[in-house]
Structure formats: structure tokens, C-alpha cells
């Protein structure tokens, strides 16, 4: 078998349900844990981000109006599809230094997380919504509605479990998102995009870009049609200020969570869903 020349996979981005290369034509090299060359990843730019926002916004109406039951089934389906591709993820995580046991544990936790949030789709409303006993003849109730388009700086050091853990609660709540994959380890996220693409998730609901984070942070925080931004890594002061300041241009909801261990129980909860929800209160008169 030694003379068999392997066909290598081209890792591209995931935008609007397809896998385009970066509009810029730029790339950066990705290495394995030994420092050997693994692949060329797309070095996305402002224009790629812009395209991804368009796709996410276009998908928002349809995705947010799916029934909770349907969204739950689709998240469950992502979990089912991931079980099927276990070997691919074991290989890719292995390349960047995970032992086989660590890789399997990472995949197990990722699948379980998807199932966990699949279960929340039709429950967070019951736990966090309310009927409000106002002191007048009105039926008054508050429901949660998705914030909209969310940009996400995915965890740098947890390329699969961390990635799944930030995407799942956002889409479980009916939002759409643009995710910047781990800069150093982008390959599992593109493989995860392949899972999404075969799981009945409508194109544009999740968009995944690769590239240099320091170049992209500005666009992720400044775009006027993005409603919220999430990051979970510890950032330097300057970057934090930049994200906060740029977000203020359109009152983006800046969601900061410092999570280093994605196995911790606290790293998954319905509050993660609620972080990307708006509360809508309706007043309705009561009387003949």
C-alpha cells in the first residue's frame, strides 16, 4: 500500500450551506503537534465575514420560526451524524496531540452536549418565560425570542468540544451565527461543518470561518447587522476594549464567559441559551 498516494482534503470555510474558499484567496498553514505541515486553511477577511452575515441573516427568519420540536430534532440529528463520523474526528484530534482516549472523550462529550441542548429547545421557554400578574384587567405574559445573528469567537484550545458547546445553545434558541474557528486548530471545525451540512440544519444557520483572530476581531465586533457577540477565552485588555467599543455602535449584546474547562458541569446550562434571547412582553385586555 505504500505506493498509494493519498488524496488530501482541501479545508474550506462553511457559509450559507456551502463550502467556499476565502474570497481573498489568502491562506495560512496549519501544523500538527509535531510541527509538520497539515493543511492550508482559508485566511478569511472582512468580505468573507460580510458574506457570512448575509447568509446568517437570510437564514434567521426561517430558523427562528421553526417549531421548538423541530429544532430539537435537528440538534439531535447533529448528534446522530457525529456518532457516525467518530473516526474522522479521532484522526483529526490525534493529529493535534489528543490521545485516542482523549479524542473519544472529547467526541462523546460533544455529542452529549448536542443531545443536552436538543432537549432544551422546547423547555427553556417554560422555565424562563412567565405570566405576570399585573394589577389590572390584563393578561400579561413574557416570552423569550432569539436575539438574531450572533458572531462567535470559538475557544482557541478546545477545537471540537468547545466549538460545539458555543454553537449548540445559540442555535437551540433560534439564532443564527458566524463562528471564527480556533486559529491554531481549525480543521475539526470544518469537519464539524460537514456534520452540520448532513444534519438537516438549514444553510446559513451556522457559518464557520477560519483565519487569523487578530485580523477578524474588528469585523466580528463592528458589523451593524450582528446583534450579539460571544467569546469564552481570556482576552487581553486591548482586545476586550475593542470588542466592547465596537459593539456599542449598534448596542450588540456582548456575552463574555470565561470557560477553560469544557468538561465542567457549568460549561453547559440553559442560561447559555437565555444569554441569546430577548424578552417580549405582551399585554392583552381581559373583559367581555
Amino acid at each position: 500500500m505504500s505506493d498509494r498516494i493519498e488524496v488530501q482534503k482541501t479545508y474550506k470555510t462553511y457559509v450559507g450551506g456551502s463550502f467556499p474558499r476565502s474570497e481573498s484567496g489568502h491562506y495560512y498553514k496549519v501544523f500538527d503537534s509535531e510541527g509538520d505541515f497539515l493543511a492550508n486553511a482559508c485566511r478569511c477577511t472582512r468580505k468573507d465575514f460580510r458574506d457570512a452575515v448575509l447568509a446568517a441573516r437570510a437564514a434567521f427568519k426561517g430558523w427562528s420560526s421553526r417549531t421548538s420540536y423541530n429544532k430539537g430534532q435537528i440538534l439531535y440529528r447533529i448528534g446522530e451524524m457525529m456518532e457516525n463520523r467518530r473516526d474522522q474526528f479521532v484522526k483529526e484530534l490525534g493529529q493535534i496531540g489528543f490521545t485516542k482516549e482523549e479524542a473519544n472523550a472529547d467526541i462523546n462529550a460533544s455529542i452529549d452536549r448536542l443531545i443536552y441542548y436538543a432537549g432544551w429547545t422546547d423547555k427553556y421557554q417554560q422555565v424562563f418565560g412567565s405570566v405576570n400578574p399585573v394589577a389590572s384587567a390584563h393578561f400579561n405574559f413574557s416570552i423569550l425570542e432569539p436575539t438574531g445573528v450572533v458572531s462567535v469567537l470559538a475557544p482557541e484550545n478546545s477545537p471540537l468540544l468547545g466549538l460545539v458547546s458555543v454553537i449548540a445553545p445559540i442555535i437551540a434558541g433560534g439564532n443564527t451565527c458566524i463562528v471564527h474557528a480556533s486559529e491554531q486548530y481549525p480543521l475539526p471545525s470544518i469537519s464539524f461543518a460537514e456534520v452540520l451540512n448532513s444534519s438537516d440544519v438549514p444553510g446559513g444557520v451556522v457559518n464557520i470561518l477560519t483565519g487569523i483572530r487578530s485580523e477578524l476581531v474588528e469585523h466580528f465586533s463592528s458589523h451593524m447587522d450582528v446583534n450579539s457577540i460571544l467569546y469564552t477565552d481570556k482576552l487581553d485588555k486591548e482586545t476586550k476594549v475593542k470588542i466592547d467599543e465596537l459593539s456599542s455602535n449598534n448596542i450588540k449584546r456582548v456575552v463574555k464567559k470565561n470557560i477553560t474547562d469544557w468538561y465542567e458541569a457549568d460549561s453547559a446550562s440553559p442560561y447559555f441559551v437565555v444569554d441569546f434571547q430577548e424578552t417580549k412582553t405582551t399585554w392583552h385586555p381581559v373583559g367581555f
Binding site: Y69, Y116, W120, K123, Q126, V127, F139, P270, H284
Partner: protein
């Protein structure tokens, strides 16, 4: 009520004075759902401890297809010994594997059940229609998909229970004895088993003796899904088997859906014990139709409220209360619509109303039809043809009835609607609440504020506004007063299966 003279021409199907004969003008070709892929065994044993076991007395009873009166299969009759065996298996499973399992794994098993039910949905739908007489359109589009949805919904709760009851530590009860009725066999099974398992309990379930087929098919599915032995046990039999479950000392909770009479017996039997119980009992739902309602839409809603599933629905809207000034018009529209309902072969996809579930129920409904006439009501039945064999009853309207008539007060559990009129909203509410039942009610009006005003005045566990007979796993269901205690479905349905410490 006098005939209303209107200027509408007769060609409109909904015209008050049209007498369209749909039966002969619009002939439907038969469109039967094939049952070729459904394999029904000659007889079914009990499902205990993960195995199919013969009943201790080796007695089996027949189950017939109510649309043909032919034998479908035979089910084992579980006696005291068998019930005891099932409870022991459930207890063993509870103490061992099931309560040790982490909650998310428990959830995964329930998700498997949901997925497998979705995969086998058509087969279950056909079996439900053959065994119970309900139209395939309903078993295919309502019963089975909803049953799967209940499992899917409750699967997700398994590892989230602490969020449902803030400040409390939820704990499983133990072994649950569950007794379900014949009107929605698999759906009622899902209402019982899904939350029980999600909360960490094990179950002994008894399906109704006339409709045990899908429960036994479900037992096979549970086996295929790889659930630990003894988590789900299914014992077949009649009332005596149910009584053995209710009176068993090692059962922690009884869940019953059925008639109010049996519910009272069960509550009495449990006197002095610390068993928890939930009862989903009978109803006599009122449909309040105001003059400002969109009438055609309301007529459709009323048809669905009372003739859905042959009227074998505990929450059926069986009493129409219509505002006086539109009463004649509504009654005529209802009669016209009645003529278009197709009564016949449950497996035919055109069928609206299938067979009455059993001979016993057929006789019971017929006795109410006679009683209504004796009480002075005017009867209207559609003129459609019904099959010669099997138990079929034409959709029926009783007008000229009063609040004290037995056909207005008692649950008929068949395709029979009584019609009364009212002048003011207060009168409608008074009449609607004037019954020992309190399961569900309907309000039809174009005015939103009236919905909430009337809705909050109705003493019933469910209020449907401008719609009726809607069910969803996220939505709690259950009655006030003699319609039962406790709720099933939704977040509220969890508490019936938990100790909140």
C-alpha cells in the same frame, strides 16, 4: 327555535337552506391503507422483566376489530401472580440499573424509543386503527406522531429536572402502576411511560383490554431499543388486572386514565396508603359560541371537538352553548356539515368517523340516544350510509335539550353533541360550569378580551380558544373537579412522578 328565512341561494354548500346530498353526489372511491406490512401475532404474552412470558393461569382473551367484529389476536390475562411478578421485576430494575444510571443516559434510552416510534410510525398507526376502530387519518397524523413527540420531549427532561423545580431536589418515586384507556391506546401509553421513565421510575402498565395491540408492539420496541430488563413491564387484562395493580403493596404511584366512576373506586382503594396518584377522568366539555365569532371556522372547530375519534375523547366538546341570535344559523350549518362526514372503514384514508370501540360502548351510546329522545330532545343524525358489520354510529345532534337532561349532564363518550342556547356571557359561563366535570372547554369569539374573561371563569383544566382538541407534549393537561387530579404533559406533568425534597 324557528326556521330562519334567509335570502342565500341554495348552491352554496354552507347555505342554511341547502340540502345537499353529498352521499350520492360526491362518491369517494375507497382509499384503503394497506395492512400488508403489519404482522400481527396469533397471541401475545405478558411483557415482564424484559421477556415475553406466559400468564400463570395460561388464559388468553380475544380482541376484535370493531369495524368487522373479526378476531384480531389474543392477549394474555394477567392475574394477581403475574402482576406481582411484574412489580417485582420493576422493583428490581429500579433498585439496580435504572436508578444508578446517570440521568442523561436515561434520557438517551427514551430518545431511542422516540426515534424508533418515528421509524415504525405507519405500522403502529395501522395496528391502532385495526384494533381500536379509529380512522387511519387520525392514528397516522395524530396518535402516533404525538406519542413519539411525548417521548422526545420527556427524554430531554431526564437530565434537567432540577431546573423544573427550583429550590427542590427531585427524586424518583419507584415503581409506578399505570392503567390506560382504549380511546388513544399508544398515545396514553406515551403520556404515562415517558414522564415516568424520565423521572427515573420503572413502570407496570396495563393497556385497556380492547386495545392492547400497540402496547404489545411497544414492548417489542422497548426490547429492540435495549432498555434494561424490567424498566418497562406490560400486563394485559381487564378490570381485575387493573385492581391487582392498584392494590399491590409495592407500588409507589398509581396513574389512571379512564372513567370518573372507576377513578372514584381507585381513590377509595388507595385510602390510608401513601401511594401517590394522578387521575385523568371524564369530561363534558362546553363549547361557548358567541355571536361575534367567525361562524364557519367555529363550525369546523365544533365538528372537530365532538366527532374527533368518534367522540371517544375525555375532553370532547360535547355540549354546544350558542348565543341565541345565531343559534338557528349555526344549527343549520352544523347539520349541513354533518352530512359531509364519512363514516366507515377505519383503514380508509377518506374516513372521518370510524368504528365505535367495542360492543359495550356501542350499546352504551345507543342507550343514550334512546334516553335523549325520552327526555324530549330533538334528534338529528346524518343520513350517510354505514357499513353493515361492525359498530358504527352516525354523527348525532340533540337540540331542544335542557341543562338538567341526562344527555347534557352525563358523559356519553360517543359522536353525540347537545345544543343549548344562551343570551349573556354570564349565562353561558353558568351553564358551562354547571356540571361535576371540569376537564376542558372551548370559547369562540373574535374578541380577544372575551376569550380571557370567559376562559378564566371556566372551571376546567384546559381552555381552547377558537380551536379545540389540540395536544402537545409541552402543554399540561388535566381536570378540575371530578375530571381528575394532577396534570400530565409539560413541565407540570413531571411533578406527578417525583418526590420533591
Amino acid at each position: 327555535m324557528s326556521e330562519t328565512k334567509t335570502k342565500e341561494t341554495t348552491y352554496k354548500p354552507t347555505s342554511p337552506n341547502s340540502k345537499l346530498d353529498f352521499a350520492s353526489l360526491w362518491e369517494y372511491s375507497a382509499a384503503p391503507e394497506s395492512s400488508a406490512n403489519l404482522e400481527i401475532k396469533k397471541k401475545y404474552d405478558l411483557f415482564i422483566g424484559g421477556k415475553f412470558v406466559k400468564p400463570s393461569k395460561d388464559r388468553y382473551f380475544k380482541s376484535v376489530n370493531p369495524s368487522s367484529n373479526e378476531e384480531v389476536t389474543q392477549f394474555a390475562e394477567a392475574t394477581q401472580k403475574d402482576v406481582d411478578k411484574a412489580v417485582k421485576a420493576a422493583r428490581k430494575a429500579f433498585k439496580g440499573e435504572w436508578s444508578d444510571l446517570n440521568p442523561s443516559s436515561r434520557g438517551k434510552y427514551i430518545y431511542r424509543i422516540a426515534r424508533m416510534l418515528q421509524e415504525r410510525a405507519r405500522e403502529f398507526a395501522i395496528a391502532e386503527s385495526i384494533d381500536g376502530g379509529k380512522p387511519i387519518r387520525e392514528s397516522r397524523d395524530v396518535d402516533i406522531p404525538l406519542a413519539a413527540a411525548y417521548f422526545f420531549y420527556y427524554a430531554g427532561w431526564a437530565d434537567k429536572l432540577e431546573y423544573a423545580f427550583p429550590g427542590k431536589k427531585p427524586e424518583a418515586l419507584g415503581v409506578c402502576g399505570q392503567i390506560i384507556p382504549w380511546n388513544f391506546p399508544l398515545l396514553m401509553l406515551s403520556w404515562k411511560i415517558a414522564p415516568a421513565l424520565a423521572c427515573g421510575n420503572t413502570v407496570v402498565l396495563k393497556p385497556a383490554e380492547t386495545t392492547s395491540l400497540t402496547a404489545m408492539m411497544f414492548a417489542e420496541l422497548v426490547k429492540d431499543a435495549g432498555l434494561p430488563d424490567g424498566v418497562v413491564n406490560i400486563v394485559t387484562g381487564a378490570g381485575q388486572t387493573g385492581a391487582e395493580i392498584v392494590n399491590h403493596k409495592d407500588i409507589d404511584k398509581i396513574a389512571f386514565t379512564g372513567s370518573t366512576n372507576v377513578g372514584k373506586i381507585i381513590q377509595k382503594s388507595l385510602a390510608g396508603t401513601d401511594k401517590k396518584y394522578t387521575l385523568e377522568l371524564g369530561g363534558k366539555g362546553a363549547l361557548i359560541l358567541f355571536e361575534d365569532a367567525p361562524i364557519d371556522q367555529a363550525v369546523e372547530g365544533i365538528i372537530n371537538a365532538i366527532y374527533f375519534n368518534q367522540g371517544h375523547v375525555c375532553c370532547a366538546g360535547s355540549r354546544l352553548l350558542v348565543q341565541e341570535n345565531i343559534a338557528d344559523k349555526v344549527i343549520m350549518k352544523l347539520k349541513d356539515r354533518l352530512e359531509t362526514l364519512i363514516v366507515g372503514d377505519p383503514l380508509d384514508k377518506n374516513t372521518d368517523i370510524g368504528a365505535i370501540n367495542s360492543k359495550e360502548q356501542f350499546d352504551r351510546v345507543n342507550s343514550y340516544l334512546e334516553l335523549g329522545v325520552e327526555e324530549g330532545a330533538e334528534v338529528y343524525q346524518s343520513k350517510c350510509s354505514v357499513p353493515e358489520n361492525g359498530y358504527f354510529i352516525r354523527p348525532t345532534l340533540f337540540t331542544n335539550v335542557s341543562q338538567s337532561n341526562r344527555v347534557v349532564q352525563e358523559e356519553i363518550f360517543g359522536p353525540v353533541l347537545t345544543v343549548q342556547s344562551f343570551r349573556t356571557a354570564d349565562e353561558a359561563i353558568e351553564k358551562a360550569n354547571n356540571t361535576p366535570f371540569g376537564l376542558a372547554g372551548g370559547v369562540w369569539t373574535d374578541k380577544g378580551s372575551k376569550i380571557f374573561k370567559v376562559g378564566s371563569a371556566l372551571r376546567s383544566g384546559v381552555v381552547w380558544a377558537n380551536t379545540y382538541n389540540k395536544f402537545d407534549p409541552t402543554s399540561p393537561f388535566g381536570g378540575y373537579k371530578e375530571s381528575g387530579v394532577g396534570r400530565e404533559g409539560g413541565l407540570h406533568g413531571l411533578s406527578a412522578y417525583l418526590n420533591l425534597k
